[in-house]
């Protein structure tokens, strides 16, 4: 109830701001800490792309302590970024959100397995200790089912250390994040086998832009401008690596995330691989029906969701 009231007040503030400057104030809450994973939005803001689209965007600082659902419900965040599977779960749980744009096309989640443990391909995971994140367990479990592997699943925390200390034979990682942290903790690329889910029929596109169904219905034009500017921000970020890095590092510094330039450079480059994969890239921001179907099918079969939303009702941005 309190949150709802706070939402109303911030909404009215937004309206006031719009009337004052001719720009519409909106807020974006990325689902994680400031890093190159969100470079496009920071660059759209920094380079005035949002303003030139009539938007006064405030990017809130995301992170483990932020509650995306609450922020969206309260109106604290007009827009959020989220993983497709996570968004579908939220929608299943009653949060009426819609996908405005599917930014990431290729699943960045992967398994990093030690070649020293004899793992050269997926089948070698049988009988091995594999750590997985409970929040992102659907893909690995589906993979194990698909290959009929009896895997010793170990819960994975927020760090790479269990894997680095040899506590498990394989660990989950984001290609753009944990994998590089491993490399920069003394792991050599030739020591590991990488298992990408998209190569095993389990491509879960991740980062997308979301807002409440109501926001979309009430202000479709605003939403479209936001999508357009955000995607333009991504294009800018990829073509201006050094400038983007400087911006990202500044935001990271402000949020005291304790990252470094080489890690953000790696992340930005991987985001480009994920957002603009070389083969069969759909127009930027598009959610492919087959990817949507894959995610829904796997979520449903793992019992995460019971109802599959109508694609067109869920992914609204790109068709307009």
């Amino acid at each position: 109830m309190l949150g709802l009231m706070a939402g109303f007040s911030s909404l009215s503030l937004a309206w006031a701001a719009e009337q004052g400057s001719g720009l519409t104030r909106v807020t974006l809450l990325p689902q994680w800490i400031p890093q190159a994973q969100f470079a496009g939005y920071y660059l759209a803001l920094e380079k005035g792309i949002y303003r030139s689209n009539g938007l006064d965007v405030v990017i809130l600082t995301g992170g483990p302590r932020q509650n995306l659902e609450g922020a969206l419900r309260s109106g604290e965040a007009t827009f959020i970024t989220h993983f497709l599977s996570s968004a579908l779960k939220l929608r299943e749980n009653g949060l009426p959100l819609v996908n405005l744009a599917q930014v990431g096309q290729r699943s960045a989640l992967l398994l990093v397995a030690r070649r020293g443990s004899g793992i050269r391909r997926v089948e070698d995971l049988a009988g091995k200790k594999v750590s997985i994140w409970s929040d992102f367990a659907v893909q690995p479990l589906a993979l194990f089912r698909r290959y009929n592997l009896d895997v010793q699943v170990i819960p994975q925390g927020a760090t790479i250390n269990l894997f680095m200390r040899g506590g498990v034979d394989a660990a989950s990682a984001m290609w753009y994040n944990e994998y590089h942290l491993m490399l920069n903790a003394g792991l050599n690329e030739n020591e590991v086998t990488l298992i990408f889910y998209d190569q095993h029929g389990l491509n879960f596109p991740e980062d997308g832009l979301y807002c409440l169904d109501k926001t979309w219905r009430d202000q479709p034009e605003l939403c479209r401008r936001f999508i357009r500017a955000s995607l333009a921000g991504w294009e800018y970020a990829f073509s201006h690596e050094e400038e983007s890095l400087a911006v990202i590092l500044r935001y990271a510094e402000e949020a005291r995330t304790g990252t470094n330039a080489s890690h953000q450079r790696w992340m930005l480059r991987r985001m480009q691989d994920i957002i603009l994969p070389r083969q069969t890239a759909p127009p930027l921001g598009t959610l492919r029906k087959e990817d949507f179907d894959t995610v829904c099918r796997e979520l449903k079969s793992s019992g995460m969701i019971n109802h599959v939303p109508v694609f067109e009702e869920f992914h609204v941005g790109a068709s307009n």
Binding site: I154, A158, N161, M164, G167, N184, A185, N260, S262, H263
Partner: protein
């Protein structure tokens, strides 16, 4: 030619000597210097390696003892927990005791596996921590914090051994760098050891970091500390601490060597490596050693230039000393060698004068008592000898020139004795006469003469003195004078020869003699009377082409014997007849093969040219002899006299072409 100096630089002997000495000592010096530098550098690096090794070991020992102090209590507690503890208060008391035992421990927790504390309790993880100098207690199982997936719990559980965690920044309240030491504990259940939980203490790293960061080495050397993941825990570049790992720094710099060093470090190796420090951007050395219990690594970095600063300073001094020394050495060598070469140089200058012909400059006395003095003395002797020789030469040359000039005069005088005007008697008709003498040396021994005894008679003679040169010329002059004087007494040719012989033979100590032919021609009648004193027979040309030797009476050469007698013969020349008189210079002329010209050759020539005028005949004989000699120097005087009798004619034209040649 050699006197002309070229403009290019010609170093002196002293300079060359100096340079050579300098170059060779310089070479020795630099080889010694380089070797010294190499060895000293190696020694210094070895010392530095030992020093840094000691520093690393002491640092590692200090950290390790601190860590051991922390480790001891939770290990003990974990052992105690192998027996069930049911009392929560007792556990909290134990945790407080842990904090009491070590002021650097910030918090302590005992986290139980779900259901292991008491069957009814799902999870239990009591935590005691310091806050504002007070104990605070919290159950980590309460709230959203899922301790079961935290590193400090999960990793020792999975690895089944006590373990230090990666350092982390606790922003929950302590706002400090921490590192957790966690010990798993087990209980025996149905003869099986069963994991029941973890005892964990969090150590504030501030103290360790402080200790390490105050360590320094040389002027700008530094010590850094990195975790098992390569994360920088302590580093003089504070902006890297907890942000960068050695690998991210290496990646950002594109530095493969640093990544390699990082890998060795996280693998617990020890080593010394030369590398370009990314922090200081200077060539540096890094010694690294592991802190085994916690998996960390200590790196000690020291700039090479500072290690080797003393050596460099020493090298600089040595080089300075060397340079100055070389300068001095060069000067000394140049001075010394100048001392040696100065006499040589002055000798060179003086002999230069001598070479130019000035022998009057005496060589300076050199008292070096060595080869140079000897050389100088030899040169002086040579100069004096040369001067003497040249003086003698000048005298001799002067004498020779004087003699030659006198001989020239003598020749002129001698030549002036001989009648040289042709035709000799332009107002006389009845004969034509031409004669010439070509001397072998400047004064010769041949003679000829002719003069009118009266209006109708011509006296003529030709002779040859036995020797050549001045004595012969003198005798020739005497003979000619005597001949003329005696002949004018209107005597017959034999009487003339007899009288002249008597005069010449008188007191003839030189034993020189003269051959002579003389005759008197009555050029109205052609009556010729003649006598001979050992001379060659003249050729008689009759009827233009008939040539024969004139029959001669016997007669001794003049001047050989006092009482020699001579005979006069007489013949009558027909108009047109010609007599050719000559000396042995003609018939005994030699060619290059030393073959004689010969009488036959002369006879043939005269037969061919019998119709020529006397002048032409004389010239032809000379030309023929010269052609025969082919440039061989003339060894004797050559004299030819031609007399042509032609009473009906006035003096003959110069050319004889009016007459028909002999067939």
């Amino acid at each position: 030619m050699s006197e002309r100096r070229t403009k290019s630089f010609h170093p002196t002997l002293a300079f060359k000597l100096g340079l050579l000495v300098l170059a060779s000592t310089g070479l020795v010096f630099f080889v010694a210097f380089a070797y010294n530098n190499h060895v000293a550098r190696r020694l210094m690096l070895k010392n530095v390696e030992e020093a840094t090794q000691r520093l690393a070991q002491s640092t590692v020992a200090r950290i390790s003892s601190l860590l051991q102090g922390v480790e001891r209590t939770p290990i003990f507690i974990a052992q105690q927990l192998s027996r069930p503890v049911k009392d929560t208060n007792q556990i909290v008391q134990v945790l407080r005791d842990i904090l009491l035992s070590n002021p650097h421990i910030h918090s302590a927790a005992i986290a139980f596996e779900p259901g292991k504390f008491s069957p009814g309790l799902e999870s239990f993880a009591p935590l005691v921590y310091r806050q504002n100098n007070q104990w605070q207690y919290r159950d980590l199982a309460q709230g959203l914090y899922n301790y079961s997936v935290q590193d400090w719990y999960l990793i020792p559980k999975q690895l089944d051994r006590p373990l230090w965690s990666e350092p982390y920044f606790d922003d929950g309240g302590a706002n400090a760098m921490m590192c957790a030491f966690s010990v798993p504990f087990y209980r025996t259940h149905e003869n099986r050891s069963e994991f029941c939980g973890v005892v964990s203490v969090a150590l504030q790293l501030e103290h360790i970091v402080e200790q390490v960061s105050t360590l320094s080495l040389y002027r700008s050397g530094y010590v850094y500390l990195m975790s098992q993941n390569g994360q920088l825990i302590s580093h003089p570049n504070l902006s890297w601490v907890f942000k960068e790992s050695i690998f991210s720094v290496a990646e950002q710099d594109g530095n493969d060597q640093l990544r390699r060093i990082g890998l060795a470090m996280v693998r617990g190796q020890e080593g010394l490596e030369r590398f370009q420090s990314i922090f200081t951007r200077r060539m540096s050395w890094m010694y690294y050693a592991p802190v085994a219990s916690i998996g960390w690594s200590v790196g000690i970095v020291f700039p090479e230039e500072e290690i080797l600063a003393d050596l460099r300073a020493l090298n600089r001094d040595v080089l300075w000393i060397g340079t100055i020394g070389f300068g001095l050495l060069f000067c000394v060598v140049v001075l010394l060698s100048r001392g040696v070469t100065r006499p040589i140089s002055s000798l060179a200058r003086q002999t230069h004068e001598i070479a130019r012909g000035n022998l009057d400059v005496p060589l300076p006395p050199i008292r070096t008592h060595d080869e140079v003095e000897e050389l100088s003395r030899s040169f002086e002797n040579m100069r004096v000898a040369l001067k003497e020789y040249i003086a003698n030469l000048a005298d001799t040359t002067a004498a020779k020139e004087r003699i030659e000039s006198e001989l020239k005069i003598a020749r002129n005088i001698q030549r002036s004795f001989l009648p040289k005007h042709f035709p000799p008697f332009p107002d006389k008709t009845g004969f034509d006469l031409f004669a010439d003498l070509q001397p072998a040396k400047q004064v010769g021994g041949d003679l000829y003469d002719f003069f009118l005894l009266d209006q109708h008679r011509l006296f003529f003679s030709i002779g040859d003195v036995s020797d050549k040169g001045v004595p012969a010329a003198l005798l020739m002059a005497v003979t000619k004078t005597l001949m003329k004087g005696v002949a004018e007494q209107d005597l017959s040719p034999s009487e003339v020869l007899g009288k002249v012989n008597t005069e010449l033979a008188l007191d003839n100590e030189t034993m020189m003699f003269v051959t002579l032919f003389c005759g008197i021609l009555d050029f109205r009648t052609g009556e010729l009377v003649y006598s001979n004193a050992g001379h060659l027979p003249p050729l008689w040309i009759r009827n233009h082409c008939e040539v024969s030797w004139l029959e001669l009476p016997k007669g001794m050469v003049l001047g050989a014997m006092e009482d020699s007698t001579y005979e006069t013969r007489s013949i009558r020349l027909q108009p047109g007849d010609t007599l050719v008189l000559y000396t042995d210079g003609v018939t005994e002329a030699m060619n290059a093969q030393e073959a004689l010209y010969g009488e036959e050759r002369l006879l043939s020539l005269i037969e061919l040219r019998g119709d020529d005028s006397p002048r032409s005949l004389v010239e032809n004989v000379f030309r023929s002899v010269h052609e025969y000699a082919e440039g061989t120097p003339q060894s004797d005087d050559i004299t030819v006299l031609v007399l042509h009798f032609s009473p009906e004619l006035t003096p003959r034209p110069r050319s004889g072409s009016a007459r028909t040649p002999c067939s």
